[in-house]
Symmetry: C2
Subunit: 298 residues, 2 copies
């Protein structure tokens, strides 16, 4: 199987598991269920669960054993999108080509569906795979993800990102350091944690190389996002483009310019290929996923 | 030590641990940190962490070993209060005698602080007590709490509670069943899970009696809350009273009347005393906490 065929198969495996996990068994209130399914099953690249599965395989595990745990990462990611889109936050009306959750439903439902996705996502990581032999690994996985998503990670990044909107009269070096910190927390932490979860659940003795790969990939992901926001059309992007620049938001492109951002991505691609080679040998799926993330057009 | 002195000591132990966990070490963005501390350190009865500690002791454990894990329950509870108070939800301006978080700060900060409290709370349960010998118990504890708080528990209860506002033309039996389900999910699940966490972390072979006690206590808690909302002043309550009845919200009192609610509480108090006797012998702290919850005036 070519690497890109493997990525497509990965995405199909994750999508199938997400559909099963979010199937309507009449257990959740109908409105809550519909809102959660609307947000999660709208598409999406499934980067985080795929990362966990690929890292798990690179560390010697069977990725099919951890698909449901990996889906917990996608639920946590989706919660962050739903809450970030809220009127009190980024006030976005378009996501993945469709109305955002609070537009399609209402604000209360969007807040609660986000809360449920976060809770259920961490709950999946705490309970899958089942069986006592996995319990130590599950506890480690959920602790890593909660650390990456909480007040020292993703939420910290989002609050700093909101504060970074509007005129900013600090020096360039200070702004660059701040941007890097926001990127790292807002996007990078959960990307890095996704790679780590795969390694942890495989019982990897040394997660260091996985952490390094995830860390650089998280940065590449956000720089690519900033480039896309500055260059893509709404049609390609499925959300409102140019919004960050319009809002005077600190982005890699507004701060360093488009050419520098593209140059940075080239450098990160090389770096990631080298790190992936250590983890999985030549031309593996992790390197392909990194290339896909850097080169994507939506 | 009398039972009521023990409850005061319990609360002091929990408050001390919460203050340490929320101390400002400059790690969180200042605004996020202040908002989290404002919400958690505003007071509160600390019922859930105390329940976990007392259940842990009743199951033969040393409660001081699990105080930080128990604090995770308080963070999860506090998140639910912060989000429930939001303008899009219950739109409350007063909580524990002070402006609610979105009034004192702003809406975005309140949403994010709630998100962080939920994430950090589950993260504490996944990581405390530290040490490999606790890992299996930690994984079980966080799975139980996530299950109680997520789309099948607390969030489900809140969305059904919002839907239960306004004129309701269903039959009385249907309304009573619906109310019981909302109560059980919105408040009962996390109360029950708090008792279970204490027992789980003690490695209790049979959590059944703890589950039964927590289940009845959760119901008593909500009925007492409805009675208080109908009878107490804002001063006693520290939040706006009579709000539920004004909003045409389904409560035990609006549905069954004040006398029936008080009668139900008397019955639950006896039942809980009996269940507590099985867990901890006569006149123990769990029975005292149940009495306190049922008889409280704020």
């Amino acid at each position: 199987m070519t690497a890109s065929a493997r990525l497509a198969a990965e995405r199909a495996a994750v999508d199938g598991a997400l559909r099963r996990l979010l199937a309507d068994r009449g257990e959740r209130p109908a409105r809550l269920h519909e809102a959660m399914a609307y947000a999660v099953l709208a598409g999406g690249k499934r980067v985080r669960p795929i990362l966990a599965r690929l890292a798990h395989a690179a560390a010697g595990g069977d990725p099919d054993r951890i698909t449901e745990a990996a889906c917990g990462l996608e639920l946590v990611h989706t919660y962050s999108l739903v809450h970030d889109d809220l009127p009190a936050m980024d006030d976005d009306v378009l996501r993945r080509g469709r109305p955002t959750l609070h537009v399609a439903f209402d604000e209360a439902t969007a807040i609660l569906a986000g809360d449920a996705l976060l809770t259920d996502g961490l709950g999946l990581l705490a309970s899958r795979p089942p069986g006592a032999e996995w319990a130590v690994l599950r506890a480690a996985a959920v602790a890593v993800v909660a650390g990456a998503a909480g007040s020292l990670g993703m939420v910290a990044g989002q609050i700093e990102d909101l504060e970074a909107t509007g005129p900013n009269d600090r020096g360039a070096a200070d702004r660059a350091a701040r941007l890097e910190r926001i990127h790292r927390r807002k996007t990078g932490c959960l990307i890095r944690a996704s790679v780590e979860v795969g390694a942890i659940l495989a019982g990897a003795a040394d997660c260091g190389p996985f952490t390094a790969f995830g860390d650089r990939l998280g940065l590449a992901f956000q720089v690519a996002d900033d480039v896309l926001d500055a260059t893509a059309t709404a049609d390609e992007l499925g959300k409102s483009p140019g919004k960050d620049a319009d809002a005077g938001k600190l982005t890699y492109v507004t701060l360093h310019g488009l050419d520098a951002a593209r140059g940075r991505l080239d450098g990160l691609e090389e770096e990631l290929a080298e790190l992936a080679r250590v983890l999985e040998g030549a031309d593996g799926a992790l390197a392909e996923l990194a290339r896909f993330i850097i080169r994507r057009s939506s």
